[in-house]
Assembly symmetry: C3
Homo-oligomer: 368 residues x 3
Amino acid sequence: MNTLTSIKAAPSPLELGRFADEATPLIRNCWYVAGFADEISRDIISRRLLGIDIALYRTLAGEAVAVRNRCPHRSFPLAKGKLDGDTLVCGYHGMQFDPSGRCVNMPSMPLVPTNANVRSFPLAERGPIVWIWMGEADHADEALVPETPWLADPAWKSVRGQYHIKTDYVTMHENLLDQTHFPFLHPGTVGTPEYARSKLDVRRDGDVIVIDRALRDAAPPGIYGVPMQLMDKKVDRFSEARFVSPALHTAYASVVDRADASGEPKTYRFNITHLLTPETNGTIHYWWFNTRDERLDDAEADAFLLAASEAAYLEDVDALEWISEVITSDIEPQFDLNFAADKPGLLMRRALFELAEAETSPALTAKD
Amino acid sequence: MNTLTSIKAAPSPLELGRFADEATPLIRNCWYVAGFADEISRDIISRRLLGIDIALYRTLAGEAVAVRNRCPHRSFPLAKGKLDGDTLVCGYHGMQFDPSGRCVNMPSMPLVPTNANVRSFPLAERGPIVWIWMGEADHADEALVPETPWLADPAWKSVRGQYHIKTDYVTMHENLLDQTHFPFLHPGTVGTPEYARSKLDVRRDGDVIVIDRALRDAAPPGIYGVPMQLMDKKVDRFSEARFVSPALHTAYASVVDRADASGEPKTYRFNITHLLTPETNGTIHYWWFNTRDERLDDAEADAFLLAASEAAYLEDVDALEWISEVITSDIEPQFDLNFAADKPGLLMRRALFELAEAETSPALTAKD
Amino acid sequence: MNTLTSIKAAPSPLELGRFADEATPLIRNCWYVAGFADEISRDIISRRLLGIDIALYRTLAGEAVAVRNRCPHRSFPLAKGKLDGDTLVCGYHGMQFDPSGRCVNMPSMPLVPTNANVRSFPLAERGPIVWIWMGEADHADEALVPETPWLADPAWKSVRGQYHIKTDYVTMHENLLDQTHFPFLHPGTVGTPEYARSKLDVRRDGDVIVIDRALRDAAPPGIYGVPMQLMDKKVDRFSEARFVSPALHTAYASVVDRADASGEPKTYRFNITHLLTPETNGTIHYWWFNTRDERLDDAEADAFLLAASEAAYLEDVDALEWISEVITSDIEPQFDLNFAADKPGLLMRRALFELAEAETSPALTAKD
């Protein structure tokens, strides 16, 4: 147990300098989400990821492809072109690129120009998610793709959604690690009063931040109690929230009915997958899944969980965009105060800062 | 009498440097309007004043309260929160502030954190106006609140309005001190031809600029002649216009019917109150009252004065926004020419410049 | 014949520095289009040309007038004023200017102020076009106005249009000199497959770039073949495209029917006039004429040529705006690759660079 009461309210500027914020360089050597798998098809789309505009499509065999959305000849956005088989054809002069980004034809030239390629990006498709590596290509290791097996497992059932948010991903990660806002920002869904001052176990494990919480013999939160038909019971609740990487926050929630109809204890599990890809330093693409292991074929549960998740996450979107607007437009900078409950967020900011620092150090850029 | 003909057309750059313009620092130690009294209620509103976003509400006892619209914890805009009695509750983590800005509860903390306050601003309510002091709190002297007793006196009757204008407040003050534009910008309302070259008495009295003008045996201007039913008469007209402070311009107009139905002379007085609060250096909040001491219960006069005032002031708004757009977008800066009739505006620009200079001098910032 | 295959794909930065791009200073000493002649009337309009906002109107005698759209007194946009005979009256204080820009009245002043003028710009009207000189007035030589006699000759017939484009004029000129994009960007109108790799004769002649192309015994392009009723024939095609000045690109196309109904050869000529005036470094005003010497009274030909031209030029507008957006928003600059077919555009960029360099050299600014 670790309920600090002594993190001082005004951190020294020196310490602040060691925590990531919206100005910290984005971390490139990381698997991020490029999109839901079913967003990527034979219709080319474009999406800005970590500041770089990317064109996304699938080959005839169904393999997802990502290349920079800018022709190396006259900067035409390639996503406005078309596909000819597996080849991407620029809409301006017909220059053609294979899925690796290699130029295979320039109609105005008798020979294929060498060294006229477009940068391609490694992708890894896992269930409903296509991951992309925006860093140095020779560091792209598929073993590092975060594991989210519940998203592709028939023993689990998901509802899902996506938003574009005008905030920075650091603030969004802090929001996801912070449960003390639930009763105030989400009173109608996930917030129950005891969240504000519940005891947390917080730890940093490498670059991962983990929060554990247990609550016994309590009312279930509406978002899970209603669709699982547990609102008339007291339950035990366990939750773990994890900052896994710059791209991923996962929350594992369990609601335990100590004696179900058969008299046996029964556990209802919910895995919440929050996927963040910075579009720029100040805007993010956000995809989420709310996945459960009970009542899989219950369409009413689907509808309830979808509506409740959308309501809660839109409350976060609104709050974070309001805060971003305050920070951006205010003429007097403010050093936000920190309290004990902010420890998970501060640990995450420290981890992100160290990742950014390592990435911009000479050692890495020299690719040693 | 003071009709200069010799202010030279092209002032030297040195002299220009001594006149306020849109780039001059805003003057903070001054009472500005925060809003009409009836804009501030139990529904929290926010408004940016001198660059700082302010949350405004009333206590249960009806006292107006102003605090910075930014929670000191995570920068959430407090106006998006709610009121719990007289306490302002942040919508993100439930942090609570009393009307003085002192934190009285942080739900995630067992004890109330000290030194976690939000800045509050002195207010002074006078009739239909709530004034705010944006400067150093220990300089806030209610004796300095400008006096506008006619706005709360039952012997007078007002129509009123408010606009947001995309211009700087210096240019707006100059426009208010300038009557030579009336026949050209306001031909249908306040402009009568003799305004363009009428003789003015202009003087600077401390930081106040005063213009006096008298016109005997003339046609009344439509804006006053029509509602007072004087258009078939010749009248004597007297007017005084005053730059009172960065926040206030007042105009006192009298129309004298030398012999009314009873054969006696009768004076119709109109006090025009122009209230300006810079939102930023380039935008202003503008409130106005057109107040008279005759025909108080005449609804037709109300309607006419309201419509004519709105028409005239919107002509000013349009003109000033066009000018601001020209100045902002032009690639070739221009040093505007000055003529004799610009003397009131130049005196005001000089006074504003000196106020700004005094405020940014070391002596004041050291709070001696 | 000059089909380079050896322009290297990656030009050295040093060489790049000698080619104009969107950041190159605009060339001021040049006749540009101010508008179609029938856009300028007794209703004052304003238009930003080379960064400077201009007010345009006609005198009672019909002569076009251009002055800076900013009163020298308080920066009011003069186009919001009105005309009094040939005199432009400012809408703010009634200051009056004659067509040469000289102040002829300031109502608040007993005497006309000297040296209170607004800058006027030389104009030259030629058929449907009013040309303007934005450079030093004493360099404005009407002999330098580009000749486009077909626009005013009854033996020719035009359709025409105009667009505002969010791109720089250098990129637009390059697009006009580049015919290898026709089959890809304009497949439905001017693009026939042989354009992509057709042989060109390219030459620079002073500051003029000329491209010649001949194609014998070929299918006519739809845009000309359909309205001239030649689609069932093989024709000889000749075309010349000319970068004439920063303001003008002309294309001369001929389609030769070797044996018409009477058995004689017959030539159909089309002159395409592309007129570009930079609004700013990143936006342009664009006017075009498609002018022919056959079937002058054929309303169906008019309608077809208008629709086909609009379709093709809007494809250019879209492409160039997409490219401009890519270049503006991308966080990683790109040095575009150049191929043999880019030679005309590169010669034009070199000529524009030299013009800009000459204009910003000390010799010229000293007006020697």
